[in-house]
Amino acid sequence: MKAVWNGVVSRSVIWLPYLWLLIFFLAPFVMVAKLSLSEPAISIPPYNPVLTLAEGPAGWWADIKRFSLENYVFITQDSLYWRSYLSSVWIAFVSTFLALLIGYPLAYGMARAPRTLRPLLLMLVILPFWTSFLIRVYAWIGILKKEGLLNQFLLWAHVITEPLTILNTTTAVYVGIVYSYLPFMVLPLYANLERQDLTLLEAASDLGCTRTQAFWKITWPLSLPGVLAGCFLVFIPVVGEFVIPSLLGGADTLMIGRTLFDEFFLNRDWPVSSAVAVILLLILVVPIMLFQRSEARSREAAS
């Protein structure tokens, strides 16, 4: 009896994460997918058909027969959507690269700082999370706007004579994204670099490497799993980012998250926006799977 119970408990431990995924990931996804096959309507909720429990199986079947791929066809026909997708992926790509460029030296410096100082530095990286993301993005408006802090400083320092237009441009979006997502780049890099065995560098130096050569031959290749993790952690959410482009970006900053938001709340076209979301997910499945693979591989290497 006890053995049976233990079996149930240990099995439930295995199934619990799957249950979690089922409830909080798969179910909403199925709902969104279903929505994307419906058609918009001026009603509450604003789409047709609405599957309700009251209808019973016969009613559901009738509803399911009314599903169509029309929304997807529509998306391929309007260039706004695929331009948004492309632009999002491009912005995510550039931002990831910039975050790596800034984040790597940062993480490296942290990992090589005196041991007693490291917790403090780590704390400083995590600290921004303690205030709302939205407020931090708003703060950038104050910094970047025409009469903002940045322009005031540059005018005062006589670097410029006319205030620059930064806010509501793609540049502002890059600034906001790189700022917001930098910790996601720094943390995995730091974890990797801090773990590295420094005697390897001594061995390299013993075998004739200068410090720079030792970095490129030892530190960099060994940090690649961290680089990869950081890049995916930045790239994947940035593709769907919507707050930053809508607050800091201009009218010409196309990002799919923003398009989706507009479709959903301004046009109230829930089916089309659901179709946009489903396609976004499909686009992201590739990098997500690559990320999973590399994580699994580095976990294997570590054990």
């Binding site: 075998l207 004739g208 490497c209 200068t210």
Partner: protein, 380 residues
């Protein structure tokens, strides 16, 4: 005990030559880590082509000493010289010194082959030469079959062999080996010891080796230095350091020793007389700077004590007691005898015959004895 591979090099004794210039020299070197003094005002001369072994308990500063020579640590005081040049400020990659790390420090993202080739590639050696050298090294450490493996796919002993091969590959002027053979089984260790000595003969490399295995030190080294708390207590060739240790510390660190506290009575015709607290007399030979009444120690190695159930004819240095413990070690048998005054004395006998009639056994009453020149007197 004394396998003495290096014995045919008996004429090689540059340390006795006052005019010889040392190849490596530590001059009053001190290394402090905060409050810890890892190396304390240490001076040492090592000569070209010498095989030098460092021996000492854990934490006595052996690794630190090597790291200062390799260039990973700066000295806190004093200087390190190589071929007469002060090494201060010379980075590790410009020193003609290679080190095998105690922790191996193999590059985890490179195969065994690439690890060994690393230093050669760095040097700009031609590809074909690198390949030839690498395969020679692989053969030397018997790792040919593992050339393509990554370090994490190797056993501890295999990793150690790769680390050894990597440090040997560049054939530097000076090779520092920090416990190079500790993880190898006895057979492989002995073979590798001979290979190292051969390499040193053929390539003229100066070796500095750290080991916890005194037998290994005696096998390979021209000279051995025994360290204690950041200082060198004695530096001498293996025979001398074993047979003529200058202190109880060295005598006890290398091999087994029986120590009996006594007072110095005097020296007549080279024979030193000592008095035990029980009023007995012990005789030995050797130089000792002591005056009558000073406390000194009568010291004798277990293998130099004779053990028998009958009282020996010669009356020198006699001890009488009961066999307390017997350890059969194959080539020899070790006895622990409890003397009537409560002191334990160790004696060992080579097993030269297969069967012995009526062997000495537990609780036998036995006599232990040694000639005066088999024992020594230590004043420190």
């Amino acid at each position: 005990m004394n396998k003495q591979v290096a014995s045919f090099r008996r004429s090689f004794q540059p340390w006795d030559d006052i005019d010889a210039t040392p190849f490596i020299e530590f001059r009053n070197v001190t290394k402090r880590y905060g409050a810890v003094t890892a190396v304390n005002d240490l001076s040492l001369k090592i000569f070209e082509r010498e095989f030098f072994a460092l021996l000492g308990p854990s934490g006595c500063g052996k690794t630190t000493l090597m790291r200062m020579l390799a260039g990973f640590e700066e000295v806190s005081a004093g200087s390190v010289l190589l071929a007469g040049n002060d090494l201060v400020g010379v980075p590790p990659y410009r020193r003609p010194v290679n080190m095998m790390f105690q922790s191996y420090a193999l590059f985890p993202h490179m195969s065994v082959e690439k690890n060994i080739a690393f230093g050669l590639k760095q040097e700009g050696m031609a590809k074909a030469d690198i390949a030839a050298r690498v395969s020679k090294m692989l053969e030397l450490v018997k790792m040919e079959a593992f050339a393509k493996r990554k370090p994490d796919q190797l056993s501890g002993g295999q990793r150690q062999r790769v680390a050894l091969a990597r440090s040997l590959a560049k054939q530097p002027k000076v090779l520092l080996l920090d416990e190079p053979l500790g993880a190898l089984d006895r057979k492989l260790r002995e073979e590798t010891q001979f290979e190292l000595v051969d390499l040193q003969e053929n390539l003229g490399i100066t070796f500095m080796i750290v080991t916890h295995d005194q037998q290994e030190a005696m096998t390979v080294a021209d000279r051995i230095a025994v360290m204690d708390h950041g200082r060198i207590v004695q530096t001498a060739p293996p025979t001398e350091i074993y047979e003529r240790p200058q202190s109880r510390y060295v005598a006890d660190f290398l091999g087994d020793i029986n120590l009996v506290e006594a007072t110095f009575a005097g020296t007549t015709k080279g024979t030193v007389s000592l008095e035990t607290s029980q009023g007995g007399t012990l005789k030995t030979v050797g130089d000792v700077s002591a005056t009558k009444g000073d406390v000194v120690w009568f010291a004798v190695r277990p293998e130099k004590l004779e053990i028998s159930r009958t009282k020996p004819a010669s009356g020198d240095n006699l001890f009488f007691g009961e066999v307390w413990d017997i350890a059969y070690l194959g080539d020899q048998t070790a006895y622990r005898v409890k003397l009537d005054n409560g002191i334990f004395v160790k004696a060992s006998v080579l097993n030269t015959r297969v069967d012995v009639d009526n062997p000495i056994t537990w609780e036998d009453r036995v006599w232990l004895s040694c000639a005066p020149d088999a024992a020594m007197v230590l004043s420190a």
